[in-house]
């Protein structure tokens, strides 16, 4: 048999595995449909300028770039949330929409140990704001993970506003804030402290930012966090998460939930609550999402928005791990 190589970071999915992939997608498709989501297929190629002009978490180095016939730079779809936000803001003409998608996104910088072609199933809810909408999004995410058969997982919730609030108080420059964000994300308290001292953040903010790396666990971390700051934005973020948690309790989803105020995703497009789905046996999140009010406004129409995407291949890996554990 002859052998043809594939580029790094992509692979074929053969019938056995594809069957399981299709089954998971089918389950989610049904789930999304019943919850009132309408499916979209966004263009696979887009102009580079669309992403360059939007404040987004898609870095230039992550996009597959090509030159179009007329010399314009085009990219292979790097992110579904941006594509859906663009559609909701420019093409639907309504004040709200519930969109879902099953698509691959492409990440140029990956490869080697991570995938450059990522199969995602996701939902985006436009025009609904407030704690109840956030709680519903999280509860629906939990529902979806249950529907595809996962048993042992948690959804870890954070809020970008808390960190933003602490930053306001600290007097740190944007550059310093970005460096420190990296340390917080790695829960690296040692370097975080060194950097805070070097950049001369004010005392109270220093203590609070340092505490971020240990502010994770049950809902009690929200109370702990409250004692650390009197910044208005930080406190309102905590109050919001408490409301979300209360709603999640009503929805019966609270036992799958934990909190981590030290998950500081790129601040570029998330504006409020953020969450990740974590399953045993897979070393990376199986689901990721959050609130991104303000993104649609950059496309010309101010719509509040919340959504999440499921990484289907990772879900399949988690299912395998659960099965292996049972045997």
């Amino acid at each position: 048999m002859r052998y043809f190589k594939l580029p790094a970071g992509v692979r074929d999915i053969l019938p056995d595995e594809c069957e399981r992939l299709d089954a998971a997608e089918e389950t989610l498709r049904e789930k999304f449909k019943r919850a009132g989501f309408r499916s979209v297929r966004t263009a696979g190629l887009e102009y580079y300028d669309t992403f360059a002009n939007i404040k987004s978490s898609v870095e230039q180095s992550k996009m597959f770039k090509m030159t179009d016939k007329d010399g314009n730079l085009i990219v292979l779809r790097p992110d579904m949330t941006l594509a859906c936000a663009r559609i909701a803001a420019t093409k639907l003409g309504e004040s709200g929409a519930k969109l879902c998608y099953f698509s691959n996104i492409y990440d140029f910088s990956a490869g080697g140990n991570s995938d450059r072609e990522v199969a995602q199933a996701g939902v985006e809810i436009f025009g609904e704001e407030g704690a109840l909408a956030d709680a519903r999004a999280v509860a629906f995410a939990i529902d979806c993970l249950k529907a595809v058969g996962l048993r042992e997982f948690i959804v870890d919730i954070g809020h970008v506003g808390f960190y933003k609030g602490l930053l306001e108080e600290s007097g740190l420059s944007e550059e310093a804030a970005e460096e420190i964000r990296g340390y917080i994300n790695a829960k690296d308290a040692v370097n975080c402290e060194i950097a805070l001292k070097r950049y001369g953040a004010n005392e109270k903010a220093q203590t609070a930012i340092l505490a971020l790396s240990s502010l994770f666990g049950g809902a009690e971390v929200l109370d702990e966090a409250e004692k650390l700051t009197d910044n208005a934005l930080a406190l309102s973020s905590l109050a919001h998460l408490k409301k979300v948690y209360a709603h999640l309790k009503e929805l019966g989803a609270d036992k799958y939930v934990s909190f981590d105020l030290g998950t500081v995703k790129s601040l570029a497009y998330y504006s409020g609550m953020v969450f990740t789905g974590l399953a045993e046996g897979v070393g990376a999140p199986v689901l990721s999402g959050g609130r991104y009010d303000g993104l649609c406004a950059q496309f010309g129409k101010d719509l509040s928005a919340v959504g999440f995407a499921v990484g289907i291949m990772r879900v399949l890996r988690a299912l395998e791990a659960e099965e292996a554990k049972k045997c």
Binding site: N113, I154, D188, F216, E280, G281, G283
Partner: protein, 206 residues
Amino acid sequence: MLNVALAKGRLADSCADIFIKCGIRAQILKEETRKLVLETPDKAFRFFFVKPADVPTYVEYGIADIGIVGKDTLLEAGADLYEMLDLKFEKCKLCLAGFPEKREALASPHLRVATKYVHTAKKLFFSRGEDAEIIKLNGSIELAPLTGLADVIFDIVQSGGTLRANGLVVLEEVFDISARLVANKVSLKTKAAEILPLIAKMKEYI
């Protein structure tokens, strides 16, 4: 069961001591063996022995829930994981070293630097806005300035004995290095009940 990745060698011995102090039945780590996987008798812990540079990999992929590894290895690997604890043993420094007269050359426009830590060195000089030629070596780094392969070296210095024996000196101490406890980003949450008490206990014995 908690899966722990440990670096083979000296570091594993220090790790065994601290684990035993924490009440983990890790005596097995002290035994002479060629096995790569060891379990505690109560099946609460499983230890993997890997090369130091592979500890971040095992933890990032979630095969190991936690691991213990030097900060130098972490800097070089750039893996996406949580750095939970500074264990404060295996202390040393990542330094720029060379002949004493090379001190001025540190700011030269095109410095040749020999090192095992290629990524870390690149990041260091990039952050300083300096161009440097990074030359990858796998051992006996001190030989590079002696033979004219490089102007300076970027390497860990513990006692400085090898440097002195070869007429070299530390030109600049760049990073403080010590052993760190790292955790997989998912495991920390899904196995919090096992990992967090362990970390709390280890803190007491540092």
